[in-house]
Subunit: 379 residues, 2 copies
């Protein structure tokens, strides 16, 4: 299955109280179509990645909703896979093209989260968790705190090392005008921020965010296209207590292994990656699950600066990641591919990785029950 990205765009991510999700989607689609030099009439289907429109917005029928907003009467549907909704929407859209049914397909990821009371948002997000976790009053920071604690005990990972993930991603976000937070941070600032769920502090956590992202996928290549050479997903138990490990996400490791095989490459071939750093520990574990560093070594390597822009052969989360660019859940997986598209076509601006040829995205749902991996290469 080889499908091409002809263009992609993200909105500004942040607390966008004066912009509706309709406007966000209009904006990113307009920019995407202009970039691809295509008219709306060429779009044959719309795949919408979204998690919370129903629980927070009482809006279902989301495919038709956005198709109408865009003035299209083509097939349209919503894909939900919690925080991996965007990545799974990209995968389903790829399949629709590879099946031969459509030539050009629009993928839209969108989430509006900041217009609601925090309790409403936390409750809605726990819709991605297990019944027992919810009955126990757990939230995602609490679940990832358990994961962090297990990783610390097993591998000696430290809070300072986790803080380094935040410092790196804020530095990258300072080069991304669309990021929610463009301020840089020091390790001391992160270490002095208050605990949310020990050992995770507020500055270990990705924020609540509004935002949208769009991609134009096509059966055809152009001079500025990027090819998706692998799209693989896997699932695992919703409930942490049913997992075989707390220090690795089997879903991500399994999807990555399939994706490398399909692409005919290995982790050493990846120049740039967007990984799902919903919490700093998640980026550390992602680095290990993706085979970028040996198990238990990622925290040290990240802290040593290996994955900074301009520092090594692999740069991670040039957008600023979920931590600093923001995490509008249904948009995140789409935005990750937009970032890699920009990197591989050399339009990433100040955050451009030199000579980026192959990129990877790693999008996770909930505490890891869903993982979807894409590998992209300049066409």
């Amino acid at each position: 299955m080889k499908v091409n990205i002809l263009a992609g765009a993200t909105s500004k991510f942040g607390e966008l109280w004066n912009i509706s999700p309709r406007e966000l989607v209009q904006e990113v689609v307009k920019e995407t179509l202009q970039m691809a030099n295509l008219t709306k009439a060429r779009i044959e289907a719309v795949f919408v990645g979204n998690m919370l429109s129903s629980s927070l917005g009482n809006q279902d029928h989301l495919g038709a909703f956005y198709a109408e907003e865009l003035g299209l009467k083509v097939p349209a549907l919503k894909i939900e896979a919690a925080c991996a909704s965007g990545g799974m929407a990209v995968q389903a859209a790829c399949q629709s093209i590879a099946s031969g049914q459509y030539g050009n397909v629009l993928v839209v990821g969108v989430e509006k989260m900041t217009d609601h009371k925090p309790e409403q948002v936390y409750n809605a997000l726990m819709g991605a968790g297990s019944d027992t976790e919810r009955e126990a009053g757990a939230t995602f920071p609490a679940l990832y705190a358990l994961i962090a604690r297990a990783h610390m005990e097993k591998y000696g990972t430290t809070e300072r090392q986790m803080a380094q993930v935040t410092v790196k991603n804020h530095y990258h976000a300072s080069l991304n005008s669309h990021a929610q937070f463009t301020n840089t941070l020091t390790v001391e600032q992160v270490m002095n921020s208050p605990y949310v769920a020990t050992p995770l502090k507020i500055l270990d956590c990705s924020p609540i965010t509004d935002g949208a992202a769009a991609l134009l996928l096509s059966a055809k290549k152009t001079g500025k296209s990027v090819t998706i050479i692998a799209s693989e997903a896997a699932t695992d138990s919703l409930d942490l207590s049913n997992r075989s490990s707390l220090t690795s996400l089997n879903s991500a490791a399994s999807a990555a292994s399939l994706a490398y095989k399909k692409a005919g490459i290995g982790p050493q071939d990846i120049n740039v990656a967007e990984v799902h750093d919903c919490f700093t520990i998640a980026e550390i574990i992602a680095m290990e699950d993706l085979g970028f560093f040996p198990k238990g070594r990622a925290a040290q390597e990240i802290a040593a600066g290996k994955t900074y822009l301009g520092k090594g052969k692999l740069t991670v989360n040039t957008s600023g990641g979920l931590k600093a660019a923001g995490h509008p859940v249904g948009a995140t997986g789409v935005k990750q591919l937009v970032e890699i598209y920009q990197q591989l076509t050399g339009i990433a601006g100040k955050k451009q990785v030199a000579q980026a040829r192959i990129g990877l995205t790693h999008n996770v749902g909930g505490s890891g029950a869903t993982a979807v991996i894409h590998i992209l290469k300049k066409s």
Copy 2:
């Protein structure tokens, strides 16, 4: 795109207060796998059709939720397109197979609606409507009443003719042990039932229902398989006031036209159809949009008994349709294909259409903003 149905099953539809949606899904998947003589290990992905799990059940991450319930770690996702969620899930699953990514895929449609207060259910269902319709206090019976009134004024359609749709579908449901209502009704009983939204009476409306349905789709044929020879969808405005016509659903007419073209057949070739009779007027309009009867003639033809089992060359809603078999929204589109699968493989029991060779399903979201059509043929 040619994908095969190896097996399919539905649960009993109805007010299933003592059965959880997990149990419903377990039941239909077990029956489907037994029928196909396949083990769970052969399933490569799970596509879940569902509308209301989020707004009514606070359960997102529904793909991973059911994959875990089934003991599978394969890619899984939820597809939402309001009441067309089931049909769109089948379409996305077909694309995943036709793309070459998977060999065997499970499609599950599921909805649990009767465990909630009626106001909650009506509000959740209006998540499929437009903002202006919701602000006006409209419900789906009210919207379809407007459609019915327009059809009556333009074509002379009568309330007695609409009642005949109910009488036919209840008769068919009386032959279907899985139907929500297995009682037959007379035209007088329908005519004497109270109005919900004039001219629609309670017995013109499909019920609130719990239920699940499953299909096993495959790249391979077997001796008992049915081939999906067309899967086409289209969208239109959510809001009735933005449509070019009230007496036809452009989405359905457009998707049907594409599907006939793709299948290389015409409406005269269809022996058996499951159409989306959420209200009696919807079946009348479906008959016209699908080209089974000339515009404005369907009500008379249905009232004359042309689409009854054993009466003509086309039998419609042998399951009992949404009206009598029930309408668990996310399951409906999947159940329609299960019914046609049963008809084309000769296992439909008392409701069997003699010599059924080609069948069609017509699944609609909301008041018609989404329509998805499948055409099936004995492999």
